[in-house]
Symmetry: D3
Subunit: 246 residues, 6 copies
């Protein structure tokens, strides 16, 4: 048991610091917006595709929509996963994650200013080391920003629909210690895992905490929320640099 504790020591960063984060922008020559985000060894390729139509439930209402899809390459993981197209359907986990990303990114946009247009964010995990859904949100926002920037520059939008940045981090309790931005090893070892999505003005968009094995007193829940509020602003700085280059 001590061995496991050993491997879960964080030697390269403190409990409250992020992994190295890097966002490359406009990496795909076809997509209206794109970003390749690295959070440590988690690498997610995000593209934003502008479609000049909206889902049927919005037709004729003069407003737009943001939606997301998520996928993992078969060998993004330690052991190869089956390809979902071979399985014949997206798994429950995949569907749950892409619903989360869509809701998170819609919070960053005033869709009533977008026209009858859908922007579809594809988040494809090239390599996974924990926190892929959070990285998808953070990187997806950058891809979305560029797609809208393009619409603005081509004069296709009257008013800028971008309200604020949105970013996400996972926090959890490992070895009794609340930690920020868990990697895969930490995520697997901890019973409590909370994904936090916030806006640049400090509001919450989503909180999804699970404490299946070791339930959580309110005080610990509060600590985790505090920790997320501490770390997410770091991501806003990196996102801000990524779009300043545009």
């Amino acid at each position: 048991m001590e061995f496991i504790v050993e491997t879960l020591l964080r030697v390269d960063r403190s409990a409250t610091s992020l992994r190295n984060v890097k966002i490359e922008t406009q990496v795909n020559r076809y997509a209206e917006g794109s970003a390749l985000i690295h959070m440590g060894n988690t690498h997610v390729l995000c593209t934003a595709s502008v479609e000049e139509s909206v889902p049927s439930f919005l037709k004729g209402q003069g407003q737009g929509w943001i939606t997301a899809e998520y996928g993992m390459l078969p060998r993004s993981t330690h052991t190869r996963m089956k390809r979902e197209s071979a399985e014949g359907k997206a798994s429950g986990r995949t569907l749950e994650i892409q619903r989360l990303i869509g809701r998170a990114l819609r919070a960053s946009i005033d869709t009533s200013l977008l026209g009858e247009r859908c922007i579809r964010i594809d988040c494809d995990v090239l390599q996974a080391d924990g926190g892929t859904r959070c990285a998808s949100i953070t990187g997806g926002w950058v891809a979305l920003w560029y797609a809208i920037e393009g619409l603005m520059q081509r004069g296709m939008l009257v008013t800028d629909p971008r309200k604020q940045a949105v970013a996400a981090l996972s926090v959890g309790v490992v070895n009794g210690e609340p930690r920020l931005d868990l990697n895969y090893e930490e995520d697997s070892a901890c019973d409590t895992d909370l994904n936090a999505v916030m806006t640049a003005n400090g509001h919450w968009v989503e909180v999804q905490g699970t404490a299946e094995g070791q339930t959580l007193p309110r005080s610990t829940l509060n600590s985790l929320l505090d920790l997320a509020e501490l770390g997410i602003p770091e991501l806003f700085k990196i996102q801000s640099n990524a779009v300043r280059l545009a």
Copy 2:
């Protein structure tokens, strides 16, 4: 607009009170445990089925498993939904909900004491008026309790694996007011919706909050958590009565 506000006035209960809750027990002659829960006009039939085997990832480890499935009858809703068997697959929402119910109920059981046995909780919504996933958890726990009671009485378990009750409620902000146990009309109208799952000893199992339209300052998030902590103990009393009759 005032009209809409009007209809969302709560005339029959206060913002911090529950709807009428009723749990009928052992309503199915075949299932090892069953409960029919009414939370206002939301009615969910929960059955617990004991299977003498575990999923393959647990084979040979001497422990058990709890899992859940969720469905809505086609006309449980205002307008008829398509039957998921006709659609060829469960929707993303269905998969997300049944994963939540499974995690919630596993928190109430020490699965290492269950033997190599799986208890499958089926939650079928007969009529839906908001809060069906929370009702499924609250009612599902009662069905699970009876299934384990039966195993105990037949001498198939050495130690009682039941740790504590688990129950769930939705809370949200409607007309600027935090409210407990939203019905469908309130749920549709509010931007912020938080599902809270707690154990009878006051710990948190799950928190799933979404503020897609109107993001949430931390102070409001805290109020919603407080409200859930206020209301869920009412459910523990009702669950307690439901199993005392056994």
Copy 3:
């Protein structure tokens, strides 16, 4: 072997009498018509949903359609069945049954008087003890009656399209004895099983007899037809009471 015969003795009713039948009406607050039918321990929830369109093969012909869907809750049976949405499709048995229910109920209605409207009958088995397809027809007719009554009262139909009641019973040969309204145990034990669907004016709508193991001389086939003609009128009385309350 004597033991099996013993258990198949009917102690609570004669070979030619029905189980206790009860029909609760308008049990669902959203459906245009609904009924919960109990035939002994077989319980089926039937809802009728009015849709203001018809299948494509009927478009523009000025007439309506009646169709049915059938499902069993996973734990409606002695051992839990897999959920059909998880299986990815309805089974052959399910499809066969819902085609039967649809044909049977169409015989009770003059669909040319219904307008371009489809009434969809959902029959969901909450608990199964034999005869679920017959109970679905008998209960489905009551739900359909109420749905049309509502259309009449709201002035949406010029002429009443209801022609006559339709009801159904199973008959079979058990221990060499023709019996009415088989329960699951009798149904499993008998080689010959015949489902009879009739109208209130004594005509036949469907006869589906199967004698896979022990084939049937014409004289026995005639006896089974006689027995169905004896029992089904009892159901018409119960249906009649169920709709008189409207």
Copy 4:
């Protein structure tokens, strides 16, 4: 309207006579048994494949099984149908028919004498002009006979499991007249359609009658049963010739 009646006059045969029936045997060089049956313009290719295993519900019980699959070539019909493999699943009608064929053919065999062996009958409609399910049963029996004959000749069976021939015909009421062996045009025009499956000793295996549009008094139902009993023995003679050649 008179015109339609005209076309439904039977000019080439009487109401109580069959179409031309021809059965070619052993038409496939790989199948253990095969037959190509022509009933007028309905042509069905039937093959019987012997598999040295049984479905899982029969494993270890020392007995065999007969099962059937049914398909229509896309252009077996007046207008091309979609290929079921492209649709992703067999239709309800297909599943219903193959269950019927399987039950019918099992009535001709003592499966307890077959060993743990499954014989699978494939019935593929090359051209359809009504009565394809009945032709499948009649031709399928011949294919099955040859498959068992082969097992007997190779000494793989101790006792002959063949009990009796099984054959099937459709009967119906057209222009008020009960008729035998309906073609597609008659089948489409008549409200009452009854498929009869009998054994060579004059017993009934299946009766499936549907009178969706024009319900049926018992006297007419009796006439249809009489008519089937009159016509099916013709098929037994033709089957008998088809297997005498072996």
Copy 5:
């Protein structure tokens, strides 16, 4: 090993000769064109169905389309295959073959002269002994010819869109010897298999050669191409006879 070589000796024909080829025409009373082709023991039923619409990517362009579907009856093969409708989808091999047949047949037609019309060629293998995709192309062309002949005779086409015949053969290296028109046994034994599709004017439409086990020097590749050019003209003669009868 010598034994295997022995069985692969061609005793009934030379390495450069075809099997017996026979094409029966207009064998289906409903299809606009049809042909049953026998290449030795390979038998394929080809039908051509004229549809008065085109796929969506061609809508409004005033031109037509030719497409193909391919299937094997379950017992067309030595051991029974699973029915693709039961599998829920067409296999990769099936999809690959029907794309090949479609491309090949489109090369024989000037689709710009066809009007907004799709001709769908169904190739169903009744019995398979190697070379089914080639037989499908050769027989499919005959079915297509008749379908267009019918359109011409009914005055539905202004200019004849038929450009030239298309036919196909497989060639391969067996026992070190290039051979024409392989049967199943030869096809299974050889490492190199090349399907050649040509037009009656001696041009190539498709060449698909695979040398997975024993790779191929250019000189052998050239020999195989020569051999195909030698054999395919035989098929043009047979096709020509098959359509001269029209």
Copy 6:
């Protein structure tokens, strides 16, 4: 028309030269082998995953297997494609391509020396500009080489099973001129498209040529084969450098 010809002029390279080719190796920290190949703007990520089991048809024969899967990210293309997992199945094109890649790579390995082991090559197209299947083969060989190198270094193989490099190129006729290594624009414009797969010793593994619109005299077919034989050796040099670094 002149305009189109204009855009299809090759300004940056001659008709017989390749695009810029770059292969990055071991780009994925989990896969046993990996390579990211750039052929101009076509970018394919190839991973090789070693599995210690073989498909069922090879079980117990002491030999290994190489297989491939292929996918395109939704926005690898000019306009976004639907995700195949959302479609519920891989398309015919996808299945055809992955069968081709598998056959091609198996030609580079003596699978009898691999042990009962399967190496699965995943080729995921990050950006597509023509020739993705050829790039997958060329890059996939590098990933496969590294996976086997790892098995050799860990002593898990007795004899090196690598026989020779395999690489692939597309050739086609554009503006009447045979050209090497077509990009998407050229590929779309040309009627004749031939994919060539060769081994480093100059043998052919696969040739797949399609001339749907403009059929091909043998002389042109020969020119295309010549052109491929000219260009593919360039790829062997680049592959050789990519593995020399190991």
